[in-house]
Amino acid sequence: MRTDRELTPAELDAFGAELDALRERTLADLGAADARYIRRVRAAVRLCCTAGRVLLMFGWFPPTWLLGTLLLGLGKILENMELGHNVMHGQYDWMNDPELNGQRYEWDIVGPADFWRHTHNHLHHTYTNVIGRDDDIGYGLLRLFPEQRWKPFYRRQVLWATLQALLFQYAVAVQHVKLDKYFKGRISKDEVRPLQRQMNGKIVRQWAKDYLFFPLLALLIGANALAVLTGNLVANLLRNLWTFAVIFCGHFTEKAAVFPAEVLENESRGHWYLRQLRGSSNLEGGPLFHILTGNLSHQIEHHLYPDIPARRYAEMAREVRQIAARYGQEYNTGRMSRQIATVFRRIWVYRKPQAV
């Protein structure tokens, strides 16, 4: 497991100050290059999605169908991760561009952006890996840490995880509706209903676009509507699987730590940083890989600096690594194949009560 050194309050302050200094240095350097970058990402998203949708109009002919589906999936992955997720964190708010405003951006998935801004930006990023506070620990479906109380429900969690991977965008949407709390009788129907309505509205819009409008358009121009529909389904599925894999590697790897709720009492800035560092894990890979993960491959840097443009994480990581080493903290990183294997192992092992 982890071999972190415990830090004294004074050390924590110094640790926090070093990370703050890196933050300020990077913020001061933001400028035209970052603005150009995110607009290029957006252009790439539009290009991929448009090209994908055009190619799908050529029907089942394998080269165009496969390429069309892949391009559409790629566009959706980029939009979801590098554009939507990062913009919605307010990473580009400094640009003052209403189209890239974190509070107003609406992404191309069934989960309403408002839901995500609450469950993810607020709950997950503030209470990262704190048992009982951060719903992202297993998303209420999985037991991934021995510190989570076992329930018989978890016995079949391999199945639940598989379903979640296949339907990940729906899992993201449902999380905010708090159906688990509703079924336990902890919140009332009146609290759930407006959320449910908002979610249903977004799902209908997404379905209407992917599964109705474009297939109908195909019919209208004499193309194969079924090929278009299937292409959309597969593209969404690809995105679900990829985002699931990346996000589960962020906090559920072998060396990711969880925390009891007590740590939140009068928590210092330094300790908040420490918790982000210990609770997150990185993935190693090339530049394209990092972009496809929305730079969540730099999950540690993302959690230390959720509002700094993600394209900066790679260069910040070098310094964060040195700071972590200086304070005797492990820096959890590895290739995706290895990291995800440890996640799968957790899903398998902690399905049983005695595994602690």
């Binding site: 150009r36 607020h122 977004k202």
Partner: protein, 364 residues
């Protein structure tokens, strides 16, 4: 392309409805519209530069044609012109010197250290496209002023008053009007041939220039604005436009004598800057809640809003989660963590870690 298809804004209406109900995203639609024609947008106002002409040594007048989203304005009002520097969208306010339907004229003056204006002046070409904000400004031609109107402008303050004056004369204003434009150097006098032509056509108009920084020419006044320049003026109503200090001076001179008319003014530089976080009182305006209150420059805007009974959406209260982000509409705020200051209108700020440095208006 048959012109009747695009002859009215109506063809965009279905798209607007789809966007308003969340079926389409405005940014996506705008990208396609903008690709078709640079000034086409669904809701935002963009304008094409028609022509450029120098109206003073340091002032460039633009004639623009706005797209159909232009809400209309009066001369003398100002519009925000948007631009970008170092990746940041900035906006500056320029007065309209003329408005005819969607054809607008505004004038941009070089400002010392004003990189925004300089960039516009140095790079704009006919055919370029600019984004405009909604028109604002309360100045209007005095209705009750049979006994005369005094127009006092300093520097680029001439633009607002020139717009008002031209419109009033065109509408047949017969009352005595006296315009005094104060500039540092003679070459900074703006719209000189236009004003002289107006004087020739309208005997009730008198225009004079006040040169503050070099010897005055014939018929011009010299020195800073003072009581001697305004002595024995019949004017009863005042319109003043210029930097803060000039407007203050104009108002005190005007009110030194009893006048029947009204005074209107617009100052385009902020009052002298305060020392950061010195414990001064500021005025807060929460625009969406319609609440105005006294505040201080120590505590965060979130705390101060809550102390006034508002319940802004918020999350972590430490500047992490961005849940409390809202737009700064006017004024200057300081980031309590880094001390960084922001005063860009429309800039998203996190109110849990932002304290006001001046009177502020936020979209809350």
């Amino acid at each position: 392309m048959p012109s009747f298809v695009f002859s009215s804004a109506g063809w965009l209406q279905p798209l607007r409805l789809l966007v308003a109900h969340g079926w389409l995203r405005e940014a996506g639609v705008d990208a396609w519209l903008g690709a078709l024609r640079a000034d086409w947008r669904l809701n935002r106002t963009f304008a094409r530069v028609h022509s450029l002409r120098w109206v003073a040594a340091d002032m460039l007048a633009l004639r623009l044609k706005a797209n159909r989203n232009w809400p209309g304005a009066r001369p003398g009002q100002a519009v925000l012109v948007y631009g970008e520097r170092d990746g940041v969208r900035l906006a500056r306010c320029y007065s309209l010197t003329a408005v005819r339907g969607r054809v607008l004229e505004l004038a941009i003056k070089r400002q010392p250290g004003g990189r925004f204006a300089d960039k516009l002046i140095d790079t704009l070409l006919p055919g370029d496209v600019l984004e405009l904000g909604a028109p604002s400004g309360e100045l209007e031609w005095p209705r009750d002023a049979d006994s005369g109107v005094l127009l006092l402008a300093a520097g680029s303050g001439i633009t607002a008053l020139y717009g008002l004056l031209r419109e009033a004369l065109a509408k047949g204003c017969k009352q005595p009007v006296w315009l005094l434009h104060s500039v540092r150097r003679r070459e900074q006098r703006a719209f000189v041939p236009e004003l002289q032509a107006l004087m020739a056509r309208h005997p009730n108009l008198r225009v004079q220039w006040l040169i503050t920084g070099e010897p005055a020419g014939e018929g011009e006044l010299h020195g800073r604005l003072g009581a001697e320049h305004l002595r024995d003026l019949p004017a009863h109503s005042l319109l003043a436009c210029g930097p803060h200090g000039f407007v203050q001076k104009a108002l005190s001179l005007w009110s030194a004598e009893p006048r029947a008319g009204t005074a209107q003014w617009e100052a385009f530089s902020p009052p002298p800057a305060q020392v950061a976080g010195a414990g001064q009182a500021v005025r807060l305006e929460f625009a969406r809640s319609g609440l105005r209150a006294e505040g201080d420059d120590q505590r965060s805007l979130l705390e101060q809003a809550e102390a006034r009974g508002l319940k802004p959406k918020h999350g972590c209260r430490q500047g992490i989660c961005t849940e409390c982000t809202c737009q700064l509409l006017e004024g200057r705020v300081r980031d309590l963590r880094s001390g960084r200051e922001t005063s860009e209108p429309g800039q998203p700020i996190r109110i849990c870690v932002s304290a006001p440095l001046s009177d502020v208006r936020i979209d809350l």
